[in-house]
Each structure stands twice: as C-alpha cells, then as structure tokens.
C-alpha cells in the first residue's frame, strides 16, 4: 500500500476521534463531513469509483444536511 493510503487512514482516525471528543455538535457534524469526503477519496484509491461517487453525494451531502436540520430543531451543545 502506498504512502497516500497511510496518510488517509491516519486522517480518518484523527477525524473519528475528533468527532467523539468535540462537545459542540455542529462542529462534530462538519468534521464528519470532512471525514466522509476523505473516505470517498480512499474508495477511489481502492478502485471502486461508483462507491466513491455515492459516498461523496450521500455522506458529505445528504447526511450532513439532515444532521444540521435536526440540530437546528434540538440543542447545539452536549452537556
């Protein structure tokens, strides 16, 4: 596996830990959006372009917007 693959995996793990540690839910959702986008790059490296396309549209687009919509109706900060 190439060095790009290792860098992307490290980025993903750091993003996942940041999502778990952030108290502000809106920041956590935006970090999760960056996580999804990097995941779609990793899937392009793993030679499955249709999964990459779907992940970029769904993970970084639809899921983020739905989370933001729900946060706007509930509370923003975790106690």
């Amino acid at each position: 596996m190439g060095i790009v693959n290792v860098i992307i995996i490290v980025f993903l793990i750091v993003c996942a830990i940041a999502v778990a540690r952030t108290r502000d839910l809106l920041s956590a959702v935006i970090i999760f959006s960056a996580y999804s986008l990097m995941m779609s790059v990793l899937w392009l490296l793993l030679k499955s372009p249709d999964v990459a396309l779907t992940e970029a549209a769904v993970g970084a687009g639809i899921t983020t917007i739905l989370f933001v919509a729900v946060i706007s109706r509930t509370r923003r900060y975790e106690k």
Binding site: D50, L53, A57, I65, A69, S72, R73
Partner: protein
C-alpha cells in the same frame, strides 16, 4: 435568507447540478454511478433550493402530495418493468430472455431495460431525499398525531 450573492450563485449553479445528476442516471449502465447516486445529486440540488429560497417557495414548487405521488410512481414503474419480464416468459426483471433490444455495448441505448430501471430509481430517490429534508425541518411528523 436575504443574501443577494448566495441567491444569484444558487440560481446559476442549480441547473448544472441537476444536469450532472441526469448524466449520472442516464449513464448508469456504461459508467460508474447509477440511479441512487444521480438521484441523491438531484435531491441535493432541491435541498439547496429549499435552504436558499425558504421552505415556502420550495413547497410551492414541489408540494408534498405531488412528491408522494412521484415516490410511489417510481416504485410502481420499477415493479411494472419487472412484471413485463414475468409476462413475457422469464423471471421477475428478466432482461435478455424477454427480447428487449440490447443495442450496442458501450453506447447509451444498450443493456435492454436497465436504463428504464435507473430512471425510475433516480426519480424516486431524488423526491425521497427532498421530502425527508422537508419533513425534518418543518415538523409535520408531530402534526400527524
């Protein structure tokens, strides 16, 4: 939102997003992508319309009952194409045995009935994503009780 720059840019960019979604749907059988990805792209453009111009204008463009009809219609078209395969003497969703014109491989008019299925799935997914977002932000889930 009363921002002129955002409104103008959105008005310019929405047709291109939808064109790309339609491209992904129509080339679902010869290149990466397909009904779900293209439908999700078109749904994202409709959500962008709702975010920028407000829920009232979006509801006027695509009312909720119209969106319900479109969702059920996409599903029904999928099942109907499957039953055509059953009626012509094959399995459910049979493609080659039923004599659909297969066309030349690699061109857009090929693969029998798969493009029709892709179009049905794309329309259904786009409408579903739009109505999910509308339901989540306006709280019609609560009023149903």
């Amino acid at each position: 939102m009363e921002d002129k720059i955002v409104k103008t840019i959105t008005r310019i960019i929405i047709p291109f997003i939808q064109l790309y979604g339609i491209f992904i749907i129509l080339h679902g059988h010869v290149s990466p992508g397909g009904g779900f990805s293209g439908g999700a792209l078109i749904g994202t453009s409709l959500i962008l319309l709702t975010l920028v111009f407000g829920i009232d204008k979006a509801k006027r463009k695509i009312p909720h009952n119209v969106s319900e009809i479109i969702e059920s219609g996409g599903m029904m078209v999928f099942v109907a194409i499957g039953i055509v395969g059953l009626a012509l003497g094959g399995n459910f969703l049979a493609n080659i045995e039923t004599g659909f014109p297969l066309g030349e491989p690699g061109t857009i008019l090929s693969a029998g009935m798969i493009p029709l299925l892709m179009i049905a799935i794309g329309i259904k997914v786009a409408s579903t994503m739009n109505s999910l977002f509308h339901l989540l932000i306006e709280g019609e889930i609560h009023e149903d009780n």
